[in-house]
Structure formats: C-alpha cells, structure tokens
C-alpha cells in the first residue's frame, strides 16, 4: 500500500477549530475554558535548538520515565525516541520503567507510587488525581509555549500533550466489504446494522473486539454515549454528580441498548479473551471484517500485513450525524514533584521534552502512532492514506467533537474508579443478557457511592 505524504499545515488551524468546538459545546469547565488560555502566541520552538546538546546540562543525569504500553505502536515510538535522545545526549540517562502489564495504566502508576517508584517524567492521564495529591508539578512555562493549547486543571497547566485526542472509527477490510456486497460506508447507524447482517451472511465475523483489555471496551461504549448523551449535553457528567441526571435517562439507556444489541449479534465470540493487541492480527487474517479503534492501529495493521487493504470511516448515529472523540483533555508528559526538586533532573527532563517535540523527532513519533500533532510548530510526516480520512474528520466543522466518559475534567470529571467498574458492568450486561434499565440503576448507585466516598477523602 503506497504511503502518501501528508503536510499537516492544518495542525494550528485544527487546534483552533477544536478550541471553538469546545467553547461552544458547554460551559462546564470541561475543556472549553481551558483551551482559550493556551492560545497566546509565541515563537515556535526551534527544532534545531530543541535537540541540540548546547542546551543540555553538562553533568551526568539520570531520570526515570513511565508511560502507557497498551498500544504496541506507541510503546515502540516512545522507546525509539528515548534511544535517539540518549544517543544525542550521552550524559543524560533515561531509565525506562514502563512494562507490559495486564492491569490498567492507572493501576500500574498507582502501584509504582505505592512502592516509591513514581516515575520522574510520567505520561499523565488522570492529571487531577495526581495534581491534587501533589505528585506532579506545573509544566515549566517555557515548555507550555511549544504547544498550540494546553488544557488546564484548576487553572494550572501540568501536561505536555503528546498528541491531540484522535477520533475512533470503523477500520474495515475492503475485501470483506466487497465480498458482502457493501459498496460504500454507511450513512446512518441503521445502514451500518444492515451491513453487519450482510457481513454475517457472507460467513465472516463482522466485528472483532479486544475486550480483555478493559480500556478497549471504552471505544465502543463511548461511541454510543457520545451519540446519545455527550453531544447533546457536554455537561452531563457534572449533572450526574449533582444527581440532576441519571443513567436511567433515555439517552444512556438508548446508548447501552444499542451497545448490547451490537455485541450480542455481531461481535466475535472470543471478544472477552481477546487483547487489544490481538485485534489487528484477527482483522488481517480475515477472521473478522471490522475493528472499532483509532488511527494508532493503522501502522500495526499495515505492519501485520502490508498487502492488507483497509479503510476507515467514522460511524454515524441514527440521524446520520457524525460525532467523534476529538476535544482536547489534560493529558501528556508531566514532571513529578519529587524530581522537580532536583534542578539537574528538571533541566534534563525539559531537554527530553524539547527533543521529543522537535520537528524531526516528533514527526517520526507521529508517523508510528498516526498521531495528530499538538505543537505550534508545523509538522510533516509520511502517513498511510487512511490518516487523511482522520484529518478530514478533525477539520470538518460538521463533525461534532466530544470526549469519552472518563476524559472530561473540571466539574465534569467522573470518580476515577468509576470507568473500569462501569465497563465491567457493561460486559456483564451482555454476558447475562441483562435488563439495561436495571443495570443502569446499578450504575447510578455505584456512581453515587463513589462520589460520596471521594468526598470523604
């Protein structure tokens, strides 16, 4: 499959468009307010200066780093960047603490903290939790200027955003679609369901799901929640916390009814023992026709079989509207409070962050993960053609941008322990063929209990 050069001059404009969407989408301090604060103009970082050893401390320095390793492409891209950095800066040693784990990233990070091994430089996803507990410090102001926008938590900027949030969609086998007589992507969700019937009839499993990794459940669950809940009300989470909304409301019930129907009829039988990193193999081997995931999977799929012909589209809702994950959220590299006490370490970590986001290096990272750049500086990279569809989605003003249930922040932040519990509950809903409304009552009860428990802390 021929690769195409994508000139991502649209990145700053894209970021601006995202800011506008976020501002218009709600007033719950869920991203809109944070975006505007990061829009002050400043000179783009010089990639030459960023990577040069002239700025690096002369002393030998070692710092530890930790990041999520669930996606093999991302893991490789970060590991390659670390290697390149240490080669370019031999006096700075980075000890990579990241490891393959069966638990979620938050579990791993919390365990590392408990045993006194919290990484000096850490990929932060649950920023508020660790900021409130004083484990991370604000991002140095000279680094903030590297980015088109840095979302805030309680008015402070903690993260160097690794990429902008990318949309998820259907990654499909063109051959399977052709064999089933599907000639074009569906325009509504009902058309999509009709296509699933065609695929099933053609003898292929319609959808592969990596349900063994709990985060993978979020791709589908949030697709339905975004369509039925968050697009209509971006402040739904804060209202739920205040008990003004309920999981038993029409929106969430419809969302989970759709999810249950889809999973009961069209998903691979082994979905609960399939890991996220096995989904690409199942897709390219022809055992399944589709996968719902993001552009970070493109390289993995391409590497698994370079001749595999696949396409990508965002899954529309019943009215034909397209709603995707795409708002910014406070996540990215953060400096630990402990490491911030050591000036040499801070300088070394700043050097690494500048190196990571330097044009030449960052483009390699983005190419591996098919990421959307977060820097002010224009970044170009060779990308697979499917990435064009992703970029079109992100720049299309008719496509509504939203966030998964657990990525909202400020007033809209859910209890951090709720996500995994809820995803597991939804697995059980399908397995036990449960009553959606009854399960949503359980979700309400658990949510309220967690809000109460967290209020005691």
């Amino acid at each position: 499959m021929a690769q195409k050069r994508i000139v991502q001059t649209a990145a700053p404009a894209l970021a601006l468009a995202l800011m506008l969407s976020a501002c218009g989408s709600g007033n719950g301090n869920n991203g809109g307010a944070a975006d505007s604060s990061g829009s002050s103009s400043s000179a783009p970082a010089s990639s030459a200066a960023a990577g040069s050893s002239a700025e690096t401390p002369a002393k030998d320095v070692t710092f530890t780093i930790g990041y999520a390793t669930g996606d093999p492409a991302t893991k490789k891209a970060i590991a390659d960047t670390i290697d390149a950095f240490m080669k370019a800066n031999p006096h700075i040693k980075i000890k990579d603490m990241s490891e393959g784990t069966t638990t979620s990233y938050l579990d791993w990070l919390k365990t590392k903290d408990a045993v006194g091994e919290f990484p000096d430089l850490v990929e932060m996803r649950d920023t508020k939790i660790f900021a409130d507990s004083g484990k991370i410090v604000e991002l140095p102001s000279d680094l903030v200027d590297l980015f088109s926008s840095v979302p805030e938590v309680d008015g402070k900027k903690y993260n160097a955003p690794i990429t902008l949030n990318a949309p998820e969609g259907i990654i499909y086998s063109k051959k399977a679609y052709a064999d089933a007589g599907i000639t074009e992507p569906p325009k509504t969700y009902d058309e999509f369901l009709a296509d699933q019937e065609k695929l099933k009839t053609s003898g292929i499993t319609p959808i592969v799901v990596g349900g063994k990794d709990i985060f993978h459940m979020g791709f589908w669950l949030n697709k339905f929640l975004i369509d039925e809940v968050y697009v209509g009300d971006p402040d739904w989470n804060s209202k739920r916390t205040a008990k003004m909304t309920s999981f038993t409301d029409a929106g969430p019930v419809q969302a989970m009814t759709d999810y249950k129907e889809l999973f009961s009829k069209y998903v691979d039988k082994g979905w609960l023992s399939t890991a996220d990193n096995q989904t690409a193999s199942i897709l390219v081997s022809g055992k399944a026709a589709q996968l719902f995931s993001g552009p970070w999977m493109f390289t993995q799929i391409h590497d698994a079989d370079p001749s595999f012909d696949f396409g990508f589209y965002a899954l529309p809702d019943r009215q034909g509207n397209v709603n995707v994950v795409g708002l910014p959220s406070p996540a990215g590299w953060s400096l630990s409070a402990e490491a911030a006490k050591d000036a040499d370490k801070v300088e070394a970590m700043k050097t690494f962050i500048r190196f990571f986001f330097a044009k030449e290096q960052y483009s390699k990272y983005l190419q591996t993960v098919n990421g959307i750049p977060s820097t002010k500086e224009e970044v170009q990279y060779e990308s697979l053609p499917q990435m064009q569809d992703v970029l079109k989605l992100m720049s299309d003003p008719n496509v509504k941008k939203s966030l998964p249930i657990n990525n909202w922040w400020g007033e809209n932040q859910i209890p951090p322990q709720f996500r995994d519990w809820y995803y597991k509950l939804m697995q059980e809903l399908v397995l036990k063929n449960g009553d959606v409304k009854e399960y949503m009552k359980r979700a309400d009860a658990e949510y309220d209990a967690e809000v109460k428990a967290n209020a005691q802390q």
Partner: protein, 295 residues
Amino acid sequence: MAAKRKSRATHTLVFLIPALALYTLFVIAPTLSSAYLSFTSWDGVSTKIHFIGFDNFAEIWNSERVRNALKNTLILTAVLVVLENAAAIALAMLVDQVRWARNLFRSVFYFPVLLSGIVMGFVWTIILNYNFGVLNQLLDLIGLGSLKADWLGSPRFALVSIILSTVWKQAGYYMIIYLAGLQGIPQELTEAAAIDGAGRWQQFKSITFPLLAGSLTVCSVLSMISSLKIFDQIAVMTDGGPGFATETLTYIVYKVGFGELRQGFGTAMAMVLFLLILIITVIQVKLLRKREVQL
C-alpha cells in the same frame, strides 16, 4: 542460680532481638498500620488521611461486588482444596508405586510448582485463548470444533479454567508431602491386608488414607490458605472478568486499593479477609486434628 537464670534470659533476648526487630518492621508494624488505615478514607496518593469510623466496614457489608467476590472465593477455595488434595494423593501413590523412572515422574509432576503464578497464568492464557489458543485449535483439528469455547471469556468456564490451571500448578507441591506420608506407612499393614483378601480400594480406604491424616491436615490447611489468597492467576488470566465473574477477595483488595484509589476501603477488605482466613483455619485445624486423634 538466679544470676545464671538472668544471664540466660539476657542471652535469649539478645538472640531474639534481630529477628523480633525485623518481624516488627515488616509484619507487625504494617499490620497495625493497616488496621488503622481500614478506618480511614485514604486514597493511597494524597497526604491527607481522614478517619471515617466503621464506614468502610458498613460498605463492605452492603456491597454486592464484595458479596460476589466472597462467593467466588469460597467456591474456589472449596473446590481447590478437594481437587488439589485428591490430585496430590493420586500423584503421590503413582510415584510411590512406579517401578521405573521414579525420579523423572516426581520431577515432571513437581515442575509446575517451580513456575511463578504469573508465568503459569500467561502460559494458560495462551493455551486457552479463543482465537489463537492451542486447545481450541486442537479441538478443530480432531473434528470437535463445536466444543470450542471462550474458556477465559465465558462466565461458565472462566472460574473452571482458573481452578484446573491452579490444580495443575499446585498438586505437585502437596504430592511431595503426601509422598513423605506414604513412605511412613509400614509396608506390613498393606501386606497383611492383601493376605486377608483386601482389594486395592479397600487397602486405600481403610489403611492408607487414614494413616495419611497428618499429611492431609497440613496439605488441606495450606491449600485452603493459598486458595483464599489466590491472586496471580486471576490478575493474569481474567483480570477478574469477564465482568465481575472471577473477582475474588484478594483481587478486589488490590483492584479497589490501587486501581480505584480507595486504599482505606481496600485495607478494610484485607482486614476482613485476614479474619476470614483466621476463622476458617482455626475451625479446619480443630476438625482435622480431632479426626487425627480419632483415627
């Protein structure tokens, strides 16, 4: 005389102090600290710790998730204690009676014990995977494709898969203890029984098994404690899933304490688990000791 006794006591104390200090540091202090934390709402990250009385214990009492985990733990424990001991006795008798390659058999059966729970979990996860697993591919190969199942992704089979893989790993350990017990049984007893016309089953039922009472007490207490604390296999093979189908008490202690940032609540559950193990162990030891005396 008194001076000699005092000197002896001093010496005893001096020899005890290093071990006592280490034991206090690594066992007693954390236990006391846990007891305190179980009455707090500490999230495990922040520096502030709030005392909330018995709220955590009240929540444990009312929690459906904890009840489900307790049910799973008790099922796992009951089945594992029976199966592990039955398999261990069978293996011990086999290696005790085998005439050739005796050491080879002992090594083969003992080998899984040497694997860590994590490694064993990964191996079984690969074997039992629905799409790529050896078991399902084997079933396909021999024309039994209709029996294929999602062994770790189905609530029906996930707990069974964990039980069988744990028996596979642990039986060799208890086999060694039973083997020692078997070798302590005087040969004359079974020979006399054979002369009197007792069959193999009768010999086992009336001579061998009763005389293994001591080994049975040790093995069943050990297997009961390790089953109540089962963690590695769950974490690696199912992550407590599908849904909440294989969550056990130890697993949610970790999950809630670390993953869900509720160290206080997790610690309260650990205290409950501690009491549960203590009570069951005391009852079990008393019953088995009584049986030993009767025999």
